[in-house]
């Protein structure tokens, strides 16, 4: 698989604050890659450098074989191949959804059909509504429609489902997978660990301007081999036991109880547990 984004030794400071302190990343064609990290970890700065919105202080960056710091006509051809969905915007309130999407289609060499894009994001019945009449979730779907209208090879999604209800989030995830299946590469930043787990092929955790780990959601932080926690009620007390062999342990419990074990549960650490552990350990 070819590499779509390649970053090495990326540096960016604001005054004395080293927002990005040597980030290395490789993002491959056709994957959904999630970048996770607390506020102020350097996530937004990194992504905005990749999007060409900010200049870097050091390191090398290649996005679709192009340095995003370049300006001029070459940059325009590059922007023709990427789609950016920013965090909340409130623009174009006086245009209908279809007018906005149709107009943006005019910026690109190879745009998708505006009505098909509205179908894809589930806004067809709002095509003739003014932007300012949309709900938060509809507004976000319009943002996505504007981000993908140019048939991008690479899509940046910044906190795409903030403010969505659970049903809308599921529908949205389906849309993102569909875009990936059509061949697009997606770089996602999100605060929702369940979103990263559901969508991402690989995740990177960033903190204090450095990448701590890059892995699949299932393997991040040794999650696949982490101890499981078994809990049950015995003698009126809730008991817990950490174990690397939960099946064996439960079989033993089962033998002891001669049947049902009261309030039995066994769980592996969630992605969120692992993430918080990683971020927490970095704070020391």
């Amino acid at each position: 698989m070819s590499t779509v984004i390649s970053v090495s030794g990326l540096q960016k400071s604001y005054g004395t604050n080293r927002a990005v302190a040597g980030v290395d990343l490789e993002i491959r064609q056709g994957e959904i890659f999630a970048l996770l990290g607390p506020n102020g970890a350097g996530k937004t700065t990194t992504v905005e450098i990749l999007e060409g919105f900010r200049h870097r202080d050091g390191g090398t960056v290649s996005v679709l074989g192009f340095d995003p710091a370049t300006r001029g006509g070459a940059a325009q051809s590059w922007r023709d191949r990427i789609g950016i969905v920013l965090q909340s915007t409130h623009d174009a309130g006086d245009l209908t959804v279809l007018e906005s999407v149709t107009h943006f289609a005019g910026y690109y060499t190879n745009p998708k059909n505006p009505r098909e894009v509205l179908d894809l994001v589930g806004l067809s019945d709002k095509a003739d509504s003014l932007g300012r009449t949309l709900s938060g979730g509809q507004r976000r779907r319009l943002d996505v429609a504007l981000g993908i209208i140019g048939s991008p090879e690479l899509i940046f999604l910044d906190e795409p489902t903030t403010g969505f209800d659970p049903e809308a989030r599921r529908a949205f995830w389906g849309l993102i997978r569909k875009l990936r299946d059509e061949g697009a590469t997606i770089l996602l930043t999100t605060h929702y660990l369940d979103e990263a787990e559901a969508l991402a092929d690989r995740v990177a955790v960033i903190n204090h301007g450095k990448i701590i780990e890059v892995s699949t959601p299932a393997n991040l932080g040794g999650r696949a081999t982490a101890l499981a926690t078994v809990s049950w009620r015995e003698g009126g007390l809730l008991r817990t036991q950490e174990t690397d062999s939960p099946t064996k342990f439960i079989a033993e419990l089962s033998a002891r109880f001669q049947g049902e074990i009261p309030e039995l549960s066994a769980k592996r650490p969630s992605l969120e547990d692992i993430y918080l552990r990683m971020i927490g350990s970095e704070h020391e």
């Binding site: 999007e51 990427i82 920013l86 007018e99 060499t109």
Partner: protein
């Protein structure tokens, strides 16, 4: 499919800007009717003639068209663009292949079209209610048209450049409006220019509004009035040269300082 050009995108943006503008009813009413209201007030207050066959309304119409250029271009854009910056409109555009020049062209189209409509309304009302005489020759009509187009372009680009000065959309009006009002007083929009103190005249001569107003006087007043100008004639060439020079200054200023994001 072929790659869209900066000009073709700019023209599309112009159409979109006009559509959005027309849907904001308050701003349409303000922009289009405000000059008419001013003309009505001044025309009623100063009902005397300033010379044989020339009413104050006739003098004032020149000032109103010229200051319309500043209001519709400079003032409107220097207030509107910081709001677009706050709303993320500009950042979103920055992330697309749209060239910056297309955005500027779109704004210039918006300003020029609303200016042409404004002039038509102003002249129609002036002729119908205030005894304003239309330009007397084809030559003067041409000067009027050329001044509106060049003046709109100049005012647009200076508005875009100045849009970096207000810190936010909320405070923009407070920063921009005083600049415009002072400039209007200094430039002889509300008064007869040559009756202003000499130092005011000299300050005004640096800025384009004075020249736009003088150019409009050459369009609306009889040629006998040329003798009353500071230089004793209309200085048409100098007028166009100075407005053109400001257009170039504005272009360089805007290109260098334009910000797509609120910093």
């Amino acid at each position: 499919m072929s790659k869209p050009t900066a000009l073709s995108i700019g023209i599309q943006r112009g159409g979109l800007e006009i559509k959005q503008f027309m849907r904001q009813r308050e701003s349409v009413v303000f922009t289009m009717l405000f000059p008419l209201i001013l003309l009505a007030i001044f025309g009623s207050v100063f009902s005397d003639s300033i010379a044989e066959g020339v009413t104050f309304s006739q003098y004032f119409v020149a000032g109103m068209v010229a200051s319309g250029l500043v209001n519709t271009g400079f003032q409107q854009l220097a207030i509107m663009i910081p709001v677009e910056r706050d709303f993320g409109t500009l950042k979103r555009l920055r992330g697309t292949p749209m060239p910056a020049s297309s955005y500027f062209i779109g704004k210039a189209i918006l300003v020029t079209v609303s200016m042409l409509i404004q002039v038509i309304l102003l002249l129609a009302a002036g002729v119908a209610f205030f005894g304003v005489d239309l330009p007397a020759s084809a030559n003067k009509w041409f000067t009027l048209f050329a001044l509106v187009v060049l003046g709109s372009a100049c005012s647009t680009i200076l508005g875009i450049a100045f849009s970096n000065v207000p810190k936010s959309g909320r405070g923009a009006s407070a920063v921009v409006s005083p600049v415009v009002i002072i400039l209007q007083f200094f430039s002889g929009v509300f008064f007869i220019f040559t009756s202003l103190p000499a130092w005011m005249q000299q300050v005004a001569a640096i800025f384009p509004l004075k020249w736009m107003t003088q150019g409009m006087r050459s369009v609306f007043l009889p040629d006998s009035f040329a003798a009353r100008e500071v230089a004793g004639n209309w200085e048409t060439t100098r007028t166009f040269a100075i407005i053109g020079a400001w257009l170039i200054v504005g272009l360089i200023w805007a290109m260098r300082s334009f910000k797509w994001e609120r910093s």
